[in-house]
């Protein structure tokens, strides 16, 4: 085996793995913890990219101020979506949530088409493009920065859940909503905050990756599917699991594409999901047992 080739495939896989983990992070909260099978996840990602294009090209902000503005806007959007839509189907099983988010995703894609049109949009990146070599391995500065920001976002989200009062309230609410509300936690707000956080993370990853690829109204479908794969692989609701699931998917795809064929690379994730649910339904890395 050619070592240079192997190392490049591995690097590609790790970079993609972090990107997958990053784009699935929001779904880890919304699907993994809140149990909303959110088919609008990819559209939240898409909105992040499109608003990212808007704030960098029209408002002329630099990348990081743009990122902050997108975060604020999408958090508010997520809060409203939860309060006006998701809240009304809470506790009714998966079906109403699935149909509701499918409707939301159809609406968001087509409303975006109406407003900004179907063209791919360029999100200004944080740094200039161009290759960067480590020996035989090629990456780009932009990718390294995206990986760095991605890891920071994952760590930040983890800290919010683990170290803040909001995080404690979240954990309590998702373990036992009744007890949490008896203990004085306003569970309605906790749900909305979690949804807003999930929506924000999806949008931030959309803007970050939009600066590497491009943003377009129709990108959401594929993102939703891949993110479901990542969340299932990693085990529901676990950040560490999402990272592991993302890396597993990224590396498996890189090696399959590298040594077998690129044409069928999307099949890897779905086959992994089927195998894992067959043999280890709680996910590869889940530390908690399935809740009743």
């Amino acid at each position: 085996m050619d070592l240079d080739l192997f190392l490049q495939f591995l690097t590609n896989g790790v970079v993609m793995g972090v990107f997958y983990a990053l784009s699935a992070l929001g779904l880890t909260l919304i699907f993994g913890l809140m149990r909303v099978v959110n088919f609008a996840h990819g559209e939240f990602y898409m909105l992040g990219g499109v608003t990212g294009w808007f704030v960098t090209s029209y408002l002329g902000l630099d990348f990081f101020s743009g990122l902050a503005l997108v975060a604020v806007a999408m958090a508010a959007f997520g809060w409203l979506v939860d309060r006006f839509l998701i809240e009304r189907v809470r506790g009714q099983g998966e079906e109403p949530g699935i149909l509701l988010t499918i409707g939301l995703s159809i609406f968001l894609v087509n409303a975006t088409l109406l407003v900004v049109g179907p063209a791919p949009m360029k999100v200004a990146g944080a740094v200039a493009e161009g290759p960067l070599f480590f020996g035989p391995i090629a990456v780009t500065k932009l990718r390294l920065i995206a990986v760095g920001v991605g890891i920071a976002l994952i760590a930040g989200a983890h800290l919010i859940i683990r170290k803040t009062r909001l995080g404690a309230a979240m954990r309590a609410t998702f373990q036992d909503p009744m007890a949490a509300s008896l203990a004085g936690i306003r569970t309605g707000n906790v749900y909305a905050a979690t949804f807003a956080l999930g929506c924000t993370l999806a949008a931030l990853s959309g803007m970050l990756l939009g600066s590497i690829y491009s943003a377009q109204a129709s990108v959401g479908g594929l993102i939703s599917l891949k993110s479901f794969v990542v969340v299932i692989l990693g085990g529901m609701g676990s950040f560490a699991g999402a990272i592991a699931g993302g890396l597993l998917l990224g590396i498996a795809e890189a090696f399959w594409g590298g040594y077998v064929a690129t044409g069928m690379v999307d099949v890897v994730g779905f086959v992994l999901v089927i195998l894992i649910l067959l043999f280890r339904p709680q996910g590869l890395f889940s530390i908690r047992a399935e809740r009743a």
Partner: protein, 378 residues
């Protein structure tokens, strides 16, 4: 029973506008993808078509009536495109059809057009077999991959001094057709094929594919991809530090593509049936009015929609009425002076005679470096 009441209410609603309209316009139906992942290109076709209709109506219309363009979204899927055609034919009573974008959707609507005896002109669908089905109502006012390969393989092989070529195509009929035709013709000219890979439409990361490509050490990379996939792919070829010459087919000679691809677009070659920088007086007029209307220069698909509509409407004018057989006969006698040359049809309904160009992106502009009329296929 209630269901029936509701059903008939809705049926009545769908049917209502059917009877009321008198035919004081000449209707041409258009099926293009306006939603979904191909919507970007579909919208360009529609823009071109609308401009053509506007110009003709400003000049008095045809047969003393205004042309009315009825546009429906086919989403590039067979079932939706068939729905759209049924509606256009039965409810709007269109005289002729233009569409659909993707070859799969066009293949599905062709039998419908034949059944209702409505002429169908496509400005885009490139799958070679479409004109081989013996459908007398189908006309293709577009290049096929085979015609493009035949026109430019030699120039490319010589100018770029190709010896080892890697082929990358989007995994659909068009991408596969482009790769097959160009690799056949370039191989015959002595350029060795070192890698052939396909990727799915919507793919964003090509680093794995490009790692294989780097290992194959080609001096030329052929790419069959549209703006969305193609711009990312070309950008990543440079990000991988590859300096192989990039050429291919796709709507690359547009401001959008060049803007998205950035500096990586410099020096790449695209074989296209149309580029806004084509040097012909008719083209300059077309570019001027297109730019005035849409504030962007037309690309391959804008021109495709413009041409398809003009060809169809002029055939109706020559036919003297909206009888399908008369329009069909008139279409065979097409001698349409397009911004890019003159379109004629073979008896199988394949267009030829128009110019195709090879452009190189230089200083952010598509520069025409070779132009050749597309011959009739044998």
């Amino acid at each position: 029973m209630k269901r029936l009441v509701l059903g008939s209410l809705l049926l009545a609603g769908v049917a209502a506008p059917l009877s009321a309209q008198a035919q004081d316009t000449i209707k041409i139906g258009m099926v293009e993808p306006l939603t979904g992942s191909v919507a970007y290109n579909g919208k360009s076709v529609v823009e071109g078509a609308k401009l053509a209709v506007e110009e003709m109506n400003a000049a008095g219309g045809i047969l003393g009536k205004k042309i009315e363009l009825v546009i429906e979204d086919g989403q590039c899927t067979p079932a939706n495109s068939v729905n759209a055609v049924e509606k256009l034919v039965q409810k709007d009573k269109v005289a002729a059809l233009v569409g659909a974008f993707c070859s799969s959707a066009t293949a599905a609507i062709m039998p419908v057009a034949q059944k209702y005896k409505i002429p169908l002109v496509t400005g885009v669908s490139s799958q070679a077999s479409l004109t081989e089905q013996g459908n007398p109502y189908f006309f293709r006012a577009a290049e096929t991959d085979a015609l493009m390969a035949k026109a430019f393989a030699k120039i490319l092989a010589n100018d770029l001094k190709l010896t080892k070529v890697a082929y990358i195509g989007v995994n659909d009929d068009w991408g596969r057709g482009g790769v097959e035709e160009f690799s056949r013709d370039l191989s015959a000219l002595g350029a060795k094929s070192v890698l052939t890979e396909y990727f799915d439409h919507g793919t964003t990361d090509f680093f794995t594919l490009l790692t294989k490509l780097r290992a194959a050490k080609p001096d030329g990379v052929f790419v069959a991809a549209e703006t969305q996939d193609g711009s990312i792919l070309v950008k990543q070829i440079r990000e991988m530090g590859l300096d192989a010459k990039v050429f291919g087919v796709g709507s690359w000679a547009t401001a959008d593509f060049i803007n998205l691809t950035g500096s990586a677009a410099e020096g790449i070659h695209a074989a296209v049936p149309y580029a806004s920088s084509m040097d012909a007086p008719r083209n300059q007029t077309f570019v001027k009015s297109y730019e005035a209307k849409y504030r962007i220069k037309p690309g391959k698909y804008g021109a495709a929609g413009y041409n398809a509509l003009n060809i169809t409407a002029q055939a109706i004018a020559r036919a003297g009425n909206t009888d399908a057989e008369a329009i069909r006969a008139a279409l065979y006698k097409t001698q349409y002076e397009a911004p890019n040359g003159v379109y004629r049809f073979t008896e199988k309904g394949q267009a030829y005679g128009f110019d195709a160009v090879l452009v190189r992106i230089e200083g952010g502009q598509p520069k025409v470096i070779a132009s050749t009329p597309v011959d009739a296929p044998h």
